[in-house]
């Protein structure tokens, strides 16, 4: 107990462990798992990342002429990196940066549009398939 | 996993003949839905050696009632309570409502629903 008391006094002179977080930034280690970045120039549109993603944070929407658009929801992403490992063009088309994802408050409703988009994307695939099938027939 | 079959009549006799709290570590009670029947498993492991897990199992109809093993293993009421809640099976003297409430979805892990 005496040693603890002396420690309490000596701690008064030492620097605190904690920091004033939003004002003083914290140091992140190298290879921190952050947001997922995408470059459509190199993408081969194989949809593998979409299939493996556990929370469905990557969605490809397909248009009638066949080209796809990549959509990514940082608020749904769990930064597990499964998409990066599934990607055949890792580093060029899809990579994980060290940037931290920003928090969101429920007022912004970041996921509401996303779930609508999810349905639309599903529908767009089916539409495209139907168009393709119709073309084959003709 | 070593599986030993039993049935609802012999369950209590089998378990009480087999279980000694000084030798066996009771792991849990587990339920598996086989589509039209239920399989209830009682899993045990021996303390301090590397033998495999021993599993006593019985198959039962959804509506039948099986006896509880709480009189033999006092801590089994949690595992049995979970099976009762999740699969809606009937076990004697084990009430519903350990994990789920009255107004929540009943027997969520059953396949028919």
């Amino acid at each position: 107990m005496i040693s603890a008391i002396t420690k309490a006094f000596s701690n008064l002179l030492k620097k605190p462990y904690t920091c004033n977080y939003p004002v003083t930034p914290v140091i992140k280690p190298k290879n921190y798992r952050g947001l997922i970045k995408f470059n459509d120039e190199y993408c081969i549109w194989c949809d593998k990342c979409e299939k493996v993603c556990p929370p469905n944070a990557i969605i490809f929407k397909q248009f009638e002429d066949g080209h796809k658009v990549y959509n990514y929801n940082p608020y749904l992403c769990i930064y597990c990196g499964d998409c990066i490992r599934a990607c055949p063009k890792t580093g060029d088309a899809l990579w994980q940066c060290e940037e931290k994802g920003l928090p969101s408050i429920s007022k912004d409703a970041p996921n509401d549009d996303w779930f609508i988009l999810e349905k639309e994307a599903k529908q767009s695939r089916e539409n495209y398939k139907a168009i393709k099938a119709a073309k084959k027939k003709s | 996993m070593k599986k030993i079959e039993t049935n609802s009549e012999n369950l209590k006799d089998d378990i009480s003949a087999f279980y000694d709290y000084k030798i066996w570590h009771y792991i849990t009670v587990n339920g598996v839905d086989l589509g039209d029947k239920m399989e209830i498993q009682y899993l045990f492991k021996k303390y301090g050696n590397k033998e495999e897990v021993v599993c006593y199992f019985l198959t039962m109809d959804y509506e039948k009632e099986i006896p509880s093993i709480v009189s033999i293993i006092p801590s089994a009421y949690l595992g049995e309570g979970e099976v009762v809640d999740m699969f809606g099976v009937k076990i004697k003297e084990i009430p519903k409502g350990l994990l789920l409430e009255e107004d929540s979805c009943q027997a969520p892990l059953r396949k028919a629903q």
Partner: protein
Amino acid sequence: MSWFLALFAPVFGTLVSGIDRVVRARMQRRLGPPLMQPFYDMFKLLDKRPMMVHKLHIVLGVMHFMALWASIALFMFGGHLLYIIFTHLLSVIFLILAGYSVRSPYSHLGANRELLALFAYEPILILMAVGFYLTCGSFEVSVITSNSPAIVSMPLMFIALLILLPLKLKKSPFDAPEAHQELCGGVEIEYSGFFYEVIYVSKMTEIIFVYALVFLFAGQNILLGIILVTGSFFLVNAVDNATGRIRIDHLVKKVYATAFVLALLALGWISYV
């Protein structure tokens, strides 16, 4: 001067409480809250909606604060030490009655413990007053503060008071009556909004009362008084950061075994010398 001190005692108490929180945080190597945090808390509590159980509960809470303030005012005006101690006792009894007046089990247990703690420290406070009478020849605070320092003639009594400090300030090891992990604050749990603020302020005003008693040991020597107060302030905080909370039955036993015995010894010493 006395008017000023008596009137602004709650404000000083709040300020000391702010310093206390910063010191405690630094002793744990944290940054801690800003100095004015207790004031911010008070402003926040003003905005909250009071949800009180019944009127008697409110009245007892307010009476607790008023009695405590009155005892401090008596002190600042140099009144009779026994009156001061008994006014303070009255304020604590109001709080205990408030604890019993609601049906929450935490409040009841808190009141039980508060009562036990009262049994532990009240005799020692009275013995201390007797000690002052024996050394200074009077119970009047104004007489005691114009005499030579009483700590010279009864150091053991001062140590007894030091043991009581954590008990009165609700700091470990003697914070069982409040014990937020067990009782969520004990007697104060059913207060809310503005009325909780009254209890909150009176908790901080109590700091002034306790350190005023410490100051009394310095007599007319103001510099010594300041040294005693700051020294005991840091010591209490250090002990708070070096011990856990002991149980209420241990608390009563330990306080009687140490502080009460020391106080008796001090009295014996004074009358012998």
